[in-house]
Amino acid sequence: MIDLLPDDDQKALIDNFESVLAAEAPLARLRDGQGDLALLARLAELGWFGLGLPESAGGVGLGLIEEALLFREAGRFLVGPRLFAAVLGAHAAVGAGDPALAAALAGGERGACLLSGDGRHAFDRQPGDSLVRVDEEGIRLLDEAALVRAEPIDGLDPAIALERVELDERGVRRLADRTLALRTKVLVSASLVGLAEAARDRATLYAKERQQFGQPIGAFQAIKHRCADMAVGCESAWTLTALAALCLGSGRHDAAFQAAAARIVAGDAALAAVRGNVQIHGGMGFTDECEAHLLVKRCHFLLQLAGGTRLHQEALLGEPEPVHGR
């Protein structure tokens, strides 16, 4: 069946994500420099990290598409990158035949932080963390011992603690297959979509409220059309991300194609939306107080999280055209 819209169970799931995050993840939290630790502990308690993990590893046993729905909402509320680390780390542990570790990561008993694909940065690291590194080839789950050096540095995104790190990967504990690299692309795309949607919604709301020349600025086509472009960007990026999630989830031959394409389109849509959102807020948008800049900064972070857009472009060009049927 061809159905890119959520069914009733999926709708309930989305509502649940949204109501929890709306209550517990106001963007104001991002200013306290706590790296979302409290929020993530709460989400672990709710079982969200294990949504797409098999039940045998203590997960809920849902599909990649449900996980993508979670990351879309998480992107909308700028949930910190430890969410990626916990979920991907748990999948890697399952792939490596260590369901106990998977359960510990998914349950939040064991901490995990994400490294950049090139291994140069760590994000929101805590003592005792497992380190999760994903690149085009696959995923690596490292012990803390692999960390030779870690130097805190100023980061673009004020809500993410950034460290420049040096690794000794001779202690590499696990190496899993390429589908986890693709899963990462899909989840990054989903987060970018959520971020784009947040920007679209904030811009649209402001365009309805802010009055100039005696009317809401959203009545001016220059503003209206920019919002419309954000809406189209979100629609194109989400439908493709959902398609990629479904293709990868069911092992279709074109999963790598769709995942790379989704990451490219979602990246472009998100960047255009977060920047447009600043512009539509005028002088207010340029302030530290307005939250618009937080979206811009998070966008650039997500764009580097699993390799830059150019990398995904080359990956896409390396795939055959998806054709249905034999």
Partner: protein, 391 residues
Amino acid sequence: MDFTFTVEEEAFREEVRTWLRANVPTEKRPKEGQAMRAFDTAWQRRQHESGWGGIAWPVEYGGQGLSLVQQLIWHEEYVRAEAPPPGCMFVALSHAGPTVMLRGNAEQRALHIPRIIRGEAVWCQGFSEPGAGSDLASVRARGVVDGDDLVVTGQKVWTSYADVADYQELLVRTDPDSQRHAGLSWVICDMRAPGITVRPIRTMAGITTFAEVFYDEVRIPLGQVVGGLGEGWSVAMSTLSFERGTAMIPHQVELQRTVEQLIALAGEVTGPDGRRPAAADDEVRSRLARLRAEVAAMRAMTYASISRAQREDAPGPEGAMISLYFGELFQRVHDAAMDILGGESIERQGRAEAWTFRYLDGFKHTIAGGTSEIRRNIIGERVLGLPRGRA
């Protein structure tokens, strides 16, 4: 959420593929005039004789009543088999025919429907006027009731295929005191009726596929009014609910193919450095990848619109998003083609011919059937709920 084709659907794909492979015309399709009409109607007849004449039409009208997914499969295979576009049969099959089915009376249906599906009647659409383009509700062509006739005087413009059409779906103002959407009527106009003058217009691509049409006291029997006098706007809109966003699928599938051809082209032509193929250039690669990804997104939007149509009867304003996306993407693809062709982009022959033709012809995709600006208005106002501007 799901993305799988059932066993039956895969079998259907095989059946369609086999039939198309054996039946798609091998001659080149003429782009204009009577030769085009003969080609398009012959192809329609051939499809009809094998039962494929109206894949989206209900069975009772000789169609196949296919599901949306089957229609999608048909179009995918159609493009893959390099089958020709419906051309001048498009309005009859996708607009006029369905409108007559939905809103016409028994007599109108009996007269027109079979001739359309058999490829015997070509229709055109007379909505736009010199003073009524984006603002279609300001139609001024006038229809005056006189005895059993409607006497029509006025002008239409940009009427695709008017020069080869037998009938026209004509929107006229039949209540002289009416404003905007009220007081319009949807009428079947015989293009051979006395008083009609068709003056073909050449497009920027160099072909003559539309025309202006003048009406000088053209007498149309009142029996040709569809849906009743004064109901024209609602009749015109009813076609949209039939379409359910599927009419544009062939163009979308075709664009995917075009991008693949562009990637192949970039491997053949010399790139910007004058030595290596264009496909070795970093900037060209980046652009090609982006276009490929955007086509994938457009296809996903098609699947999403099918998913919506499976749940709702009337299509929502979301349809404007895919139309807008398609039109602009088509143009980006051909902008890239011009750059990749480089020095050859000023040729209209040989390897450049198809690309330069489509580059020029593609300007229509952000104008015809609603301009990009109007589509952005619809998205802004009806999808996002932004306020309308002060008039």
